[in-house]
Amino acid sequence: MISLSILEAGLVNGLLTGGVYALIALGLTLIYGVLHIVNFAHGSLLMVAMFGGWMLVEWAHLDPYAALPLMIVVMFAIGWGLYAGVIGRISGGDDRRILLATLGVAIVLDNLALVLFTGDTRTIETPYQFAVIEAGPLLLSVPKLISFGVAIVLALLLWAFMARTDMGRAIRAVAREPDGARLVGIRPGRIFALAYGIGIACLGAAACLLLPTFYVSPQVGNVFVLTAFTIVVLGGMGSFPGAVVGGLLIGVTESLGGLFLGESLGPIGISLVFILVLLFRPTGLFRAAR
């Protein structure tokens, strides 16, 4: 029998873990949800960002949170460069070729990491990695609370950027009607590269927020990427509030599923919620900004 205090703790823990999922899904909802690029490289780029953060912490002795702005810039540049130099060129706008291009990028990045860093698992040490806030019987992890907060702030910023800025409007215009956008003077290639860069920059933030509580290895991206795709579809393609709510819902479902069904069977809960939501709201929980 599960006690009430465990249930409460499971719920809170699910929300905090969901915050981390939301962070990873935020970038993907822009790339997959708005631009409709099936970005198979999303997990691999998260891994690149985590190794980048790890190197800044271990070699440059930066705090992971201090490395966050730098990693956002670095990952933006990598994302922009990848789209402009590789994915955009190979795909020529054809969806199937985009899919293959991102898959190719993922394979290259995964194996490059294996050569450079071996398959070993790495972690960082920070003075606050075991820090907790005591809330009654609950011990809330400080790094998880921080990543939860940043996920909310980042979602608001991205939503405001897409809804309120010319650049955001341009991205949405290109995604919906590239020919029309071109007629009004928008250059779709540049806008796609910019949006892809922003999506990947989100991974820079996610990586630095994950580092204090998680490990880094060449396979680490695979741990999150399928969940991120699920969250994007569940939350509504291209919706930033959807990504956050979807992330939290998946986090809580996983957590309570684990408590009631055990950690082996628990993940079934995610699939059940996913099917139920899509049955009743085929477009996801939220409608994207159009």
Binding site: N13, T17, T121, S217, E263, S264
Partner: protein, 403 residues
């Protein structure tokens, strides 16, 4: 044209050259063909780190054998590695055996994971080629009646029984402070069978199993598992899982301030690196696992060699190393690479892996009866052997100090 008179020196030089010239073809003819050994491991994919460690060990053994003059009874024949990456795909491991058999492999070592080993040893059995398992603990690897398959290292049952013996011994010596335990294990063959055996045997040594908690690989968050452990207040948490989940679970136990002792059986993340780099969570953690013999005179030099090459000291390197050495020893005693003579030579082998904490080697149905795991503990950021006494280089701290 300049005439150069014949001198004693030039005559000697010409004579020496002639002898050398005559001797040369003989030397070339005497160079025996290299003996090819297939090294099959998962060097990419989720098990890449451990697979690579096995491969590195195997390559080191080949270097050592060749540097020592090759297989002497075969005219100094050199060993040659055929390297295969099986990823985590049993069918690929089997296909690599076929490819290497075609390329003239005289034997195989591999494959780190039991699932890969099961497929590869079966494929090698088709050809009757000897297979020296370097890592892979499933009992079935040597209980299926494959005459070509040999394991110098311990099986899962041997290790789990050893772990229970260690726990019984430590607990008795400490006055029986551990009365309850919770088992946490990954939910594939390895973790499930280990936990099932522990659950069956622990009550007999006076330890009640309060709960058994399986988890998937990968698992992203262990907070729920730890909350349930915390509520049950066990004296000991016993873990059997792989590297990443091992580290995440122990970190979460620390974060949620669970005071229970930690004991693992085949703890995937238990290593020197874990002891040194994560000492805030690793200190006092007990593990029953494969390890080297700290008292063996050659172990320290081998570890230095690994350090110099930037290779982590893990048991997989030693296993990869000795799996090849076992084959090389059989080639040497058989005086041939012919499988018909090498397989019986392996069966009769008494080859002793001197850097491992084993009893004398004796093969029964392909399994070395002298192989065993040892009890380990992180003490002062180092891994110490604490069980059995015969190989121990430190005394176990048991139970775990509070706070």
């Amino acid at each position: 044209m300049t005439f150069r008179p014949t001198t004693r020196r030039s005559t000697l030089a010409a004579g020496a050259a002639a002898i050398a010239g005559l001797a040369m073809p003989t030397v070339l003819r005497a160079e025996p063909a290299a003996i090819k050994i297939g090294l099959i491991h998962p060097v990419t994919g989720p098990l890449a780190f451990s697979g690579n460690q096995c491969r590195i060990g195997g390559q080191m053994a080949i270097t050592d054998v060749n540097a020592a003059g090759g297989i002497k009874t075969m005219g100094g024949a050199k060993l040659e590695a055929l390297l295969g990456d099986s990823q985590l795909k049993p069918e690929l491991a089997a296909s690599l055996v076929d490819q290497f058999a075609e390329a003239g492999a005289a034997g195989f070592t591999g494959c780190y994971a039991s699932s890969l080993g099961l497929a590869a040893t079966q494929a090698a059995a088709k050809y009757g080629l000897p297979f020296s398992i370097d890592s892979g603990v499933a009992d079935s690897l040597t209980t299926r009646g494959l005459a070509n398959t040999f394991r110098l290292f311990p099986s899962a049952t041997v290790c789990v029984n050893g772990a229970v013996d260690e726990l019984a011994g430590l607990n008795k010596a400490a006055g029986g402070p551990v009365k309850t335990a919770v088992l946490v294990h990954e939910n594939s063959e390895f973790g499930t069978t280990t936990a099932a055996t522990l659950k069956e045997k622990l009550p007999a040594i006076g330890i009640k199993v309060l709960d058994v908690m399986p988890h998937a690989t990968p698992t992203r968050d262990f907070t729920n598992v730890v909350l349930r452990i915390k509520e049950q207040k066990p004296d000991l948490v016993i873990i059997s899982n792989y590297l990443n989940e091992y580290v995440l679970l122990i970190r979460t136990l620390k974060q949620q301030r669970v005071p229970s002792g930690i004991f693992s059986v085949f703890g995937g993340g238990f290593s020197l690196k874990f002891a040194k780099e994560q000492n805030d969570i690793s200190e006092d953690v007990l593990d029953f696992n494969n390890w080297q013999n700290p008292k063996a005179p050659t172990t320290a030099a081998f570890r230095k060699r690994l350090d110099a090459a930037g290779v982590a000291t893990t048991y997989e390197v030693f296993f990869g190393y000795y799996a090849v050495k076992l084959l090389a020893d059989a080639f040497g005693r058989a005086g041939t690479a012919d499988k018909a003579q090498v397989v019986p030579a392996l069966g009769a082998s008494t080859f002793y892996p001197d850097m491992l904490p084993y009893n004398p080697t004796k093969f029964v149905n392909g399994q070395n009866q002298g192989a065993q795991g040892v009890g380990l503990q992180v003490q002062h950021a180092d891994v110490k052997v604490v069980w059995p006494d015969q190989f121990a280089d430190a005394k176990a701290i048991f139970p775990r100090p509070k706070g």
